[in-house]
């Protein structure tokens, strides 16, 4: 595995933005530096006879009320714009960042007082602050820019402070303190580099804002003073002669828009490309190929099958824009009242399987093959409308983290009642009544009272009970539970597993139980499918799987589980780590980590008689412990 940095800004869609922006800004800088040589006329030279002329060969952009050449004034305006942006932004950074970092790190009274002053400044309209500061300092470019610098320093102060506050809580800062780094070292060496990315973005935003503000101040006459040419003062003139020479407003206005736009777009690209998570592992080659098809055993239809998945295949779009296969050759069935466990480590594709059944993978992914038969009907063939009816009524889902799978903005009772009203067409009072009954049914005392609680007011276990109540509100045939106990403490997990068992007895639904924990699967499942790298490697009834695992990966997982052995180290391990999607070996995907791998494992292996291993009969991995 050789992960590389992906340079986002080298992608075509970004280049299309980058190139013009950089060109505009480069032109601005060149004009600013060489204004005296480039501009055809002296920007201050008046010629009253040829005042307010439209564009012509002599004056490409016409002349203003005093007969001065507009093009020359525009070019000299670049210089002012550049100076303004550099001065004000520089002052803002120099004042804001150190103070922000200091108060963020120091906290206490320093922080409190500084932030009250900042709040006070921010609650006065920015232009008014600038006007007041200019009242003290007097008018003129440099003074006005000093005023803007002070004004925008509050933005940098708050940015630096919030980054320090956020990073201070990060574990790596804790580590640095444990190592014994002094506070100033923690601040400068460990935290400061993390300020740089948002700082750069904020600088571009500020440059844009400064350009607009400078133009505004000059426009109302307290920034750059006439006769000096700034884009703002030029617009001031244009406003006065709006009806006589409407063209006058265009050149300086467009110059401002082009400059600010370029700076902002550049800032957007920078922000996107330095955002966390962009730098991901990418496959060394270009497009990832679809896994070769194999002739696995078909899923035997059973009398009371509720769900039968056949040859499911899913691709998702990675952050790099490439399509990556995450599921292949996935087949299983679940009968009425039965619980099938889908067990695997992170990245095995177990969660996406649940979502694929629900057709809820989202915009980033698509199902490219296979069937999802619910009671004999292929869900993949249903219209979007029919699928909406199926969800909730026939198939429901419980998610891993109960505190995020309930909407924080509504009471839990409201969220259950909503489903009852929408899906079962109940009236408000009846829905209310059944909601309380459901909450009571999942073992929450004081149901009527608890219905009025918001999710954040409940413990994790309580919230998961509510989520289960909602999922079962329409009595679905199939319940998909995606790691429903992983976020909970073990004693709470036990209670929730009991609840699932009781409810299944009562409602008789089939369950697809997704988990990474083999022990949990042992407790709740009737049959188990073990997943590895996007495919099922073994399916077996629960007793058989634990007594005689047939795939080396299953055997390895069992013996590597903390409860799997009772001895002291060295504990049994599986060498290496789970390959990420896109990095799967071509043949047997476990072969790189498998102690039994041979040349025969170099080709795709089908799932035959419930196991995907060419040597399973011969090696009999069994249980190590």
């Amino acid at each position: 595995m050789t992960p590389r940095k992906t340079r986002l800004w080298l992608q075509p869609s970004y280049l299309a933005v980058m190139v013009p922006s950089v060109l505009v800004l480069a032109t601005l800088v060149v004009c600013a530096i060489f204004a005296d040589w480039i501009s055809p006329y002296d920007p201050l030279k008046q010629d009253l006879i040829s005042a307010l002329q439209p564009p012509s060969a002599r004056h490409w952009l016409g002349t203003d009320d005093l007969g001065r050449d507009v093009l020359s004034r525009l070019i000299h305006g670049c210089r002012i714009a550049l100076i303004a942006a550099a001065e004000a932004t520089g002052i803002a950074v120099l004042i804001g960042v150190p103070i922000g970092m200091f108060v963020g790190f120091r906290g206490g009274w320093w922080d409190w007082i500084t932030m009250r002053i900042v709040e006070a400044m921010v609650s006065i309209p920015g232009i008014m602050v600038a006007i007041v500061i200019i009242a003290i300092l007097g008018t003129g470019l440099h003074r006005a820019m000093f005023a803007l610098g002070i004004l925008y320093s509050t933005a940098f102060l708050r940015l630096a402070r919030s980054v320090v506050l956020a990073e201070r809580e990060e574990v790596y800062v804790k580590s640095a303190r444990v190592i014994g780094a002094s506070p100033s070292r923690v601040l400068l060496r460990h935290i400061f580099p993390n300020i740089a990315p948002p700082l750069i973005v904020q600088i571009t935003l500020t440059v844009g804002a400064v350009l607009l503000a400078e133009a505004g101040l000059s426009f109302i006459g307290i920034g750059v003073q006439p006769p000096n040419a700034s884009w703002g003062t030029m617009l001031n003139t244009a406003a006065v002669f709006m009806d006589l020479a409407p063209f006058l407003a265009l050149p300086p206005g467009l110059a401002i828009v082009a400059t600010v736009l370029s700076v902002n777009l550049l800032g957007d690209v920078i922000r996107d490309s330095i955002g966390r998570g962009i730098r991901t592992a990418t496959p060394p080659r270009g497009r990832v190929q679809r896994a070769a098809t194999v002739a696995s055993d078909p899923v035997m239809p059973r009398e009371d099958d509720v769900l039968r998945v056949e040859g499911l295949e899913v691709f998702v779009t990675a952050k790099t824009g490439e399509e990556v296969q995450v599921l292949s050759d996935l087949s299983f069935s679940i009968a009425r009242g039965e619980t099938l466990g889908l067990v695997g480590e992170s990245g095995s594709g177990k969660t996406i399987t649940g979502l694929a059944i629900m057709d809820l993978i989202g915009a980033g992914g698509r199902v490219t093959g296979g069937k999802v038969m619910l009671d004999g009907i292929d869900l993949r063939g249903l219209s979007r409308r029919r699928m909406i009816e199926v969800r909730g009524n026939d198939v429901a889902m419980v998610f891993q983290d109960p505190t995020t799978s309930l909407n924080p903005a509504y009471t839990v009772g409201n969220q259950i009642a909503e489903v009852l009203r929408r899906k079962k067409g109940l009236g408000t009072t009846e829905a209310q009544k059944q909601t309380v009954e459901l909450i009571d049914r999942v073992g929450i005392p004081g149901a009527a009272e608890r219905a009025k609680a918001y999710p954040h007011e409940l413990s994790g276990g309580m919230a998961q009970r509510i989520a289960i109540a909602r999922a079962l509100s329409c009595n679905p045939k199939l319940l998909i539970a995606d790691e429903p106990t992983t976020a909970l403490d073990v004693t709470v997990q036990q209670e929730i597993l009991d609840l699932f068992r009781d409810l299944q007895e009562e409602f008789g639904m089939a369950m697809l139980f997704v988990t990474h924990d083999l022990a949990v699967a042992a407790d709740i499942c009737d049959r188990i499918s073990v997943m590895y790298a996007g495919e099922i490697v073994e399916t077996a009834p629960v007793n058989a799987l634990f007594a005689t695992p047939r795939h080396p990966y299953t055997a390895g997982l069992l013996s590597a589980s903390p409860h799997g052995s009772d001895g002291t180290p060295p504990l049994p391990t599986i060498p290496g780590s789970v390959p990420t999607p896109g990095q799967w070996p071509e043949g047997c995907r476990f072969s790189a980590r498998c102690p039994y791998a041979t040349a025969a494992c170099k080709v795709r292996v089908p799932l035959i008689q419930g196991v995907r291993c060419v040597r399973s009969d011969e090696i009999r991995p069994g249980r190590a412990a």
């Binding site: 580590s175 444990v178 083999l518 407790d523 069992l558 903390p562 504990l571 391990t573 780590s577």
Partner: protein, 331 residues
């Protein structure tokens, strides 16, 4: 021989910060905890979320102040060092934290991360530091050629190895391991556990291993302590606590983890007492903190807090069931 770490009667208190004019309220994350870690040995500290196990770690690392009690490390009282630990103490206590994704600074290279302790505490030159960093990487099973890489280029297990390498850099006497493998996949967890065990055998470091899973802790701990809502309810030799728990909470914790054997698990489930009131999160107001959930709770438990009673096979448990008088009256 005296222990490397002796924690006696330690309380850790956090103060809530309400709005203007309101008085801050105390929250006791750890109450009167007493623990000891012998040189070169491992103490496993187990509990559910909110039990206070991480607060003990933070107190020992000097990250939160100790409210009362003493905390001796190598004979020095750490609890009295209010102005932070002096460097000679600091360099002998290191830590590895749970989340391998946020515990490494993404802006620093592996070499910088691993050699940072050397820069802070020693006068080692750049070349020596690099060499030492390479040694450390091979010590934790990573390729020294990867010194120039950034953390995001590694998997969770590899990152945890980097964190361990950094913790080993100063040859500490104690490493606090705060849930070092709970964010990792099952198939990589044991790799890290084995690594920790091997380095301990070689270098004679003591570990405070914090985790929520008793089974996992049991593998490499010499002693185990169990916490419940700020109290240490049981402490003793690892095998004794794991196989013959004395406190009802420890039993409940062990029973709550499903067995890997479906047949035996079914049996155990049938025998288990179902709790009538689900999900009681907070401690009982008076008496034993566990008394509102404990199936064996007596009247006395709801009034009086149990002291630590000696357990015959070793260690202690804070439960009146171990009181000789109680045993007599019950039999």
């Amino acid at each position: 021989m005296s222990d490397l770490v002796e924690i006696v009667d330690v309380t850790v208190t956090y103060w809530s910060r309400p709005g203007l004019g309101l008085r801050p309220k105390p929250f006791h994350a750890v109450k009167n905890a007493t623990l000891a870690i012998a040189t070169g040995k491992t103490l496993g500290l187990v509990g559910e979320s909110g039990s206070g196990k991480s607060s003990i770690a933070n107190a020992l690392l000097g990250l939160v102040p100790v409210g009362s009690g003493t905390m001796r490390f190598d004979g020095q009282d750490l609890a009295a060092m209010t102005g932070g630990y002096p460097p000679e103490v600091r360099k002998r206590i290191q830590a590895v934290f749970q989340d391998p994704y946020s515990s490494l600074n993404g802006a620093m290279t592996v070499e910088q991360i691993v050699s940072e302790p050397l820069r802070v505490h020693t006068e080692t030159g750049a070349e020596d530091r690099r060499q030492r960093a390479a040694e450390l990487l091979s010590l934790v099973g990573l390729d020294p050629a990867h010194l120039g890489r950034y953390p995001h280029e590694f998997s969770g297990g590899q990152r945890q190895r980097i964190a361990i390498a950094s913790a080993l850099a100063l040859q500490p006497r104690l490493i606090v391991l705060d849930e070092p493998v709970s964010a990792l996949d099952v198939s990589t967890q044991n790799q890290i556990i084995n690594l920790l065990y091997e380095r301990q055998e070689e270098l004679g470091i003591a570990y405070l291993l914090i985790a929520h899973d008793l089974a996992l802790v049991h593998h490499i701990s010499d002693r185990i302590a169990v916490m419940y809502l700020g109290h240490i309810v049981e402490e003793g030799p690892a095998d004794r606590v794991y196989h013959a728990p004395a406190h009802p909470y420890t039993k409940a914790l062990l029973d709550a983890v499903p067995l890997l054997d479906p047949e035996r698990q079914r049996q155990r489930r049938a025998e288990r007492k179902r709790e009538t009131v689900p999900d009681l999160p907070r401690a009982a107001d008076r008496g034993c903190a566990y008394s509102n959930r404990c199936p064996f709770a007596m009247n006395r438990c709801r009034v009086e807090a149990p002291p630590a009673y000696a357990v015959q096979e070793g260690g202690t448990a804070a439960c009146f069931l171990l009181d000789e008088n109680e045993k007599e009256t019950r039999t």
